[in-house]
Symmetry: C2
Subunit: 156 residues, 2 copies
């Protein structure tokens, strides 16, 4: 739960017109978009890899990759295989890489609540091999439990 404070209280007094979650949902609204983003996190860069690994049709894959490039999560990147002409692939941008905490949080929530067996993949820290979890923490290092407070962000 997120407790409204200051100008945000009572919640009935304002309209959430600029909500970042709604904007993110708009951008990532289709299952196919998240599946292609998954494959980018899992290392796909070539169009044929995205098609084969996502199980999506070529036209849908092309259309969604184009949207992800337009939205700024992927960028086109040229690659060349021996004996072939240069072709365009796709790489995660900083904006795309920065989606990883949200991606992992979604995955782990799905693992806990939408799977019988904890889900197919276990993520671990590439350094020490220990399992990875998503945590809400504050800048003082406190774990944030089931309650956070919200205030209007002060003008920048």
């Amino acid at each position: 739960m997120i407790r409204m404070t200051g100008e945000l209280e009572p919640r009935g007094s304002w309209t959430a017109t600029g909500c970042s979650v709604a904007k993110a949902a708009q951008l990532l609204r289709s299952r196919s978009t998240l599946v292609l983003l998954r494959e980018a996190f899992y290392g796909a860069t070539r169009f044929d890899e995205f098609v084969a690994r996502s199980g999506l049709s070529e036209p849908l894959t092309a259309s969604r990759l184009r949207e992800l490039v337009a939205a700024g999560l992927l960028r086109r990147q040229a690659y060349q295989e021996p004996g072939s002409r240069s072709r365009q692939g796709y790489a995660l941008t900083a904006m795309g890489v920065d989606f990883m905490p949200a991606f992992v949080a979604l995955m782990q929530w799905g693992d806990r609540w939408l799977q019988q067996d904890g889900g197919p993949l276990e993520l671990s820290h590439d350094g020490c091999g220990a399992p990875v979890a998503t945590r809400l923490v504050c800048e003082q290092g406190h774990e944030v439990g089931e309650l956070a407070a919200a205030r209007r962000r002060p003008p920048g």
Copy 2:
């Protein structure tokens, strides 16, 4: 980036049929679903609160709340106002509350990449007031940067 290890490598050798992210995306596929979940996190419990605060139509709100109950994120909860008959409201279940890290991760990613001014809300730890962030950490306490490793989850 998520590096595939063990049986998961090479990625081209298997199909991600049971993906938790795809399942979560299926469940939360519409912007309106996430907007109503937002209002539940922001304290809405009554149908008229969900309608007024989400800006969605009554039929859409009713339909999406029904889906959220069926999916297990909300449950119906009776309430009674003085002088009125008992009515049904909505409360977050444990599954719904557990979505908070993913919700906050989506919000903060949106704040950073989809807003001009950092977004309208700042979340803070309800205890000490310090800003909240989503972190990927491993059980050894290491911060997970831009690379995690994935292995097939051992049978439970």
